[in-house]
Amino acid sequence: MVGTEQVPVTVLTGFLGAGKTTLLNRILTEQHGHRYAVIVNEFGEEGIDNDLVVDADEEVFEMNNGCICCTVRGDLIRILSGLMKRADQLDAIIVETTGLADPAPVAQTFFVDDDVASRTKLDAIVTVADAVHLGAQLGEHHEAEEQIAFADVVLLNKTDLVDAAGLDSVETRIRKINPYAKIIRTTRCEAELNAVLGLDAFNLDRVMEFEPDFLESDHAHDHDDDITSISFVSETPLDIEKFQKWFGKLLQTRGQDILRSKGILNFSSTDDRYVFQGVHMLMDASTMGAWPEGKARNSRVVFIGRNLDSMGLKEGFESCKAA
């Protein structure tokens, strides 16, 4: 088949009232001749100013592939396939989720559905957070934690309503859940367009840019429901067979608790870099060419999830080192 451009899809999450609609309208009024489709949910706030708004019901269903946490958004498969039949090419598609939505099924749809993956690509998950209420929401709703955990960008909005100390404290909460998301402070979602669109955050190329933050990698937390992150580095090359065996089993048995994972690996058997990134049990991996001259040739992995302490991650990763 003749190659077709994949249209980037940005997923916009955040609790009701955080400012999703404000951000959407800001993107749409500043679109400078670009053509966007916006997929909104049935409980969406009114007043989105675009000629291509599609109403969706968030219909999450389980795949029959025996993978227990592999849920996808069926409505999204249908709507994206309909949008791809348009005569005019779209520059981007934005999917707004309901306030209480778990972003995983949306992300998993792009891993699992061949039609979706061939014509569109997941660009990034952008989460709008209310600086005033996020703290309370994180304690009360696991969905709020998941939306932060999955985010590539967190737009910390309504910062004018919180003092400097309050802002630092809410940012620390975000960092604790997800140390790798880019946090942008705004008062009325006035972020630059290129800070929220066209990020290509799920591209394996981008995984290589991440640098684990050692200070954050081993922090304590209050109780098991909390989402945390953990990262490891190894200067010793890894054994590919040992890694695949350990990591495959890990995702299979603990994938429900591992929300996102990514890594760049140095295998003893090859001179190429090996890069992966995953959402729950699903992952995408590839060799990415030779290691650049003058850069440290080491393996780095990160996990964001629940109950990470109970998974023996450090021991597992250590055991993958080549003898």
């Binding site: 088949m1 019901d57 269903f61 029959n64 348009r86 005569a87």
Partner: protein
């Protein structure tokens, strides 16, 4: 619309079908095609509908929808269409457009017609119009409707959705429902010609069927990709399906249908996925369109030779339709190329 350049890809000689075919470059993806009396009607991603007729070299063009034509069904020599502009339309071959319903920002995803009944779906609801009445009956479902099909008599409407199918049956002017369950998301749907089986195309690489008597499940799996297109062929009859490397044809004779029986596989074209199938009843054969643009025709016998109607173009076949007299064939692809030509034996 302009005549497209008709250069065959290097290494392929033009077939006689291609040599006689009118080739039209419409610029918008072909989204569907159905037999429409002596001709066929085809639908496009820019809202256009085109009627091709054996006596005309060029199609009649109708600007019907303000957006993608998502679905179509023939109603006599008229065409019913649903679009992403929320409109359910009835279009006459002379180009007259009649708006039957308008759902605003909600898409009209599916349409169907049979024996004076017509139906469409938008979101979770299906709407049925009986002849002579302007008010539709609303049928609500638990999730978005993925497919609609009437049986041949027009007494039952099958509605595919998440988790299975709802069958609505008209009894004393009321529509009564019964349910068929199977986990997953169900799309395009069809009754067997004798009305005893229902089959759905799933959002996974599988079809699912039910024998209505006893509600017995038939899982048709093993496809390398989704089976989005199907057609009933022959006396047996077979249900020919896309989604494999050839047309996968399931036998539906006998009380068990395809249960514990292998399908007949015809029309292989290398490692290319079949994207579209259409019945050729006259020759007990099936047309198979592929991901790479090739179109083959094969009789329903594994030992028979396969004939190429069209060579590869690199562009996915999205619609194939034969007219009722079985004299002319339409082929449409994902880039808006449309072929219309007589069939020679």
């Amino acid at each position: 619309m302009s005549q497209a350049p008709t250069k065959p890809p290097p290494g392929f000689r033009k077939t006689s079908f291609e040599e006689t075919a009118g080739l039209f470059d419409t610029g918008a993806p072909v989204t569907g095609a159905v037999a429409n009396g002596d001709g066929i009607a085809s639908t496009f991603g820019d809202g256009t509908v085109r009627f091709f007729h054996p006596s005309e070299t060029s199609p009649a063009e109708v600007h019907a929808h303000n957006g993608v034509v998502l679905c179509c069904a023939a109603e006599g020599d008229h065409l019913l269409t649903g679009g992403d502009d929320g409109k359910f339309l009835r279009i006459a071959p002379d180009g007259t457009v009649n708006e039957l319903a308008n759902f605003g920002s909600k898409w009209v995803d599916c349409v169907a017609a049979s024996n004076g009944l017509r139906a469409c779906s938008s979101g979770r609801k299906a709407y049925i119009w009986t002849s002579g009445r302007s008010e539709a009956t609303e049928l609500e479902h638990s999730s978005t409707v993925g497919g609609l099909a009437f049986d041949a008599k027009g007494s039952r409407l099958a509605v595919a959705h998440y988790g299975g199918v709802t069958v609505w049956e008209q009894k004393k002017h009321r529509w009564k429902k019964s349910k068929l369950f199977w986990q997953g998301s169900h799309g395009a749907i069809t009754f067997s010609p004798d009305g005893k089986f229902i089959v759905t195309a799933m959002q996974e690489n599988a079809l699912h069927g039910w024998r209505l008597r006893g509600k017995i499940d038939l899982a048709m799996t093993g496809y390398p990709s989704k089976a989005k297109s199907f057609a009933w062929v022959g006396e047996t009859p077979y249900l020919a399906t896309s989604g494999g490397y050839e047309a996968i044809c399931w036998p539906f004779d006998g009380p068990q249908g395809p249960m514990e029986r292998p399908p007949l596989c015809v029309g292989q074209h290398g490692e290319n996925i079949a994207t579209c199938v259409e019945a050729f009843p006259l020759l007990n054969a099936v047309f198979v369109g592929f991901q790479d643009g090739a179109v083959l025709v094969s009789e329903l016998q594994e030992t028979k030779d396969v004939m190429a109607l069209r060579g590869p173009t690199g562009i996915e076949v999205t619609a194939i339709a034969i007219n009722q007299p079985q004299s002319h064939l339409f082929v449409g692809d994902a880039r808006g190329h449309s072929l219309w030509a007589p069939l020679k034996n």
